[in-house]
């Protein structure tokens, strides 16, 4: 990892959803789904983003593609700020950044065959004529481990793993540089998960892909990622190289998360850190550090001042007052 080239840079990304109420639909509050998140993605790497449900990881992923319009912040892809692009330019930019969705069934139009679904990105971006697209579809099907005749089938005729392969083939069709995978394996059986993960790794090597891999399963993220970011309640609390993060977590939230990962060895002695309480509502996040309501090491300062996201050596970023001492 010497002088890695930045492919994507996200700076101070915020996405607030207005809460409307009253007779006239006035804005009465906001849900801070993503609140000031910054990270970079290097060319060819896999950045894993983990967090509980509702912590804003999917919204972050969708904001990068501007499927959700960010409230503020910048998203720089290959030196170009995506947030300032016009609708039509953004549409063309989507050729470079593709997405794989969590629910492979819901993300395929039930009335289109697999072949048509995979051909669609090509068609939309005006690539190849009808015959060439047909060839390309067959090629893509075999790349993701399906047979060419699968192209004429409808989504309901496939198994979950196969559907996700179709979703991946569709994302690959336009040869993107970056693929945002939003919980791509969490809807699949464990035995199928590893197949799809391995497929994604093979494809990364073959096509020089960069992944942003969003998941809540820590072992899945550990398996596939080069670097891992941990999100809590709309904010990034820690970001580091995979092994560094898993072996030396700095943030108390990350420590608690990792202590909850089940280990196959029943004899192993581990200290479980049990967090009490629930995740606070993002419509009314706690003051200061958003984690202070559940943190076992909470200090007075945590309730008042939001800790900044700093580099604590070796590109290990974290946001915690404990570390600043």
């Amino acid at each position: 990892m010497t002088a890695p080239e930045k492919l994507l840079e996200v700076n101070h990304l915020k996405k607030y959803y207005p809460i409307r109420g009253g007779v006239f639909g006035r804005k009465v509050g906001e849900v801070k789904a993503v609140d000031d998140v910054s990270f970079t993605v290097r060319k060819g790497e896999t950045l894993g983003i983990v967090g509980e449900s509702g912590c804003g990881k999917s919204t972050t992923g969708r904001s990068i593609l501007r499927l959700e319009e960010p409230t503020s912040g910048s998203i720089t892809f290959e030196g170009e700020d995506l947030t300032s692009l016009s609708g039509e330019k953004m549409r063309r930019m989507r050729r470079e950044i593709q997405m794989v969705f969590q629910d492979p069934f819901a993300s395929l139009n039930p009335r289109k065959t697999a072949g048509l679904a995979i051909a669609e990105p090509l068609e939309v971006h005006g690539l190849g004529d009808r015959r060439e697209r047909g060839e390309k579809v067959k090629e893509l099907l075999s790349v993701v481990g399906l047979d060419p005749y699968h192209g004429e089938r409808y989504p309901h005729q496939f198994s979950g793993g196969q559907r996700q392969r179709i979703g991946i083939a569709r994302a690959l069709a336009v040869q993107p540089k970056l693929i945002i995978a939003d919980e791509p394996v969490s809807a699949l059986d464990v035995s199928i998960q590893s197949q799809v993960l391995n497929l994604m790794e093979d494809l990364q090597e073959k096509y020089d892909l960069t992944y942003v891999f969003i998941a809540h399963d820590l072992s899945v993220v550990r398996h596939i990622s080069d670097r891992v970011g941990v999100m809590y309640l709309g904010g990034m609390v820690e970001l580091a190289d995979r092994d560094e993060l898993y072996d030396h977590p700095l943030h108390p939230y990350t420590q608690a998360l990792l202590s909850a990962v089940p280990t196959p060895d029943p004899e192993a002695k581990r200290e479980r850190i049990i967090l009490s309480g629930d995740v606070p509502s993002p419509a009314d996040p706690p003051s200061g550090c958003t984690f202070h309501t559940r943190c076992p090491h909470v200090m007075d300062i945590c309730r008042e001042i939001r800790p900044s996201f700093k580099n604590y050596g070796g590109n290990h970023f974290a946001a915690c007052h404990l570390l600043e001492k």
Binding site: Q98, T113, P121, G134, P148, F158
Partner: protein, 305 residues
Amino acid sequence: MSANSTSLTSPTPSPMPDTGEPKAEAASPLGNVWRSFIKSRSAVIGAVIVLSILLIAVIGPLFLPYGYNQVDANSRLEAPSAVHWFGTDDLGRDVFARVINGARISLWVGFFAVTGSIIVGSLLGLLAGYYGRWIDVLISRVFDILLAFPGVLLAIAIVAMLGPSLENAMYAIAVINVPTFGRLMRSRVLAIKQEDFVLAAKAIGMKDRRILFKHILPNSWTPIMVQGTLNFAIAVIEAAALGFLGLGAQPPEPEWGKMLSDSRQYIESAPWTMIFPGSAIMLTVLGFNLLGDGLRDILDPRMKT
């Protein structure tokens, strides 16, 4: 699109056994629909009635010995007989000939009104649901205003403005049915818009228009079809109502509602002049309602696999 799919379907399935995947029974969703259609009694009965009326309307008049407007002063208000199956009316016209010819009018009015309101309503609903914001507010308020009036009353007002004629009655019926389809479409679009495959289409880089017409519309048409069939029945009744009030078809056109109102005064002396056009309306409405109900059961999205 279809040609594209055929280019993909050319190779025959390899003999390799499929492993761990659901059985591929149906070639397409349409095959499933057909199978459940055959099983649904009400849909089949409704379809038989509707098709029979359609057949009668199209070719029936060709086999009639009398024209629908053939006056015979010597045989006024005659009871049904071998010569005049449904009897004759006050002008000596053959009621059977008029009822058969009336089927043409009713089906045409129903078809025109329903098709018109589906096209206009779906388009407006599509725009309102997909773009939201002020477009939605504007279109939805127009629907609300139209729905605030009782349907037939609004139709009467429209016809009164345009002048009484069958054509204007058709426009009026189309207009009052627009909000039904508009709202239905809007609600479908709102639901489908949230589906991952629409998001996926956007993520691919698809244009709005293509998303609307290739992804959202094809997944919204089933409730529209069902509602359209049911509204066909409503349109037939509304046309008859306008005819009855003298605002629809004008004499001597053999419109069923008009025939009912013309024969009001003979209800005791010559009931056949009312019974047959009335039964024709009832049968048509029944047919479309049965078909619509059956289709709803078949196409209910909750029952889809």
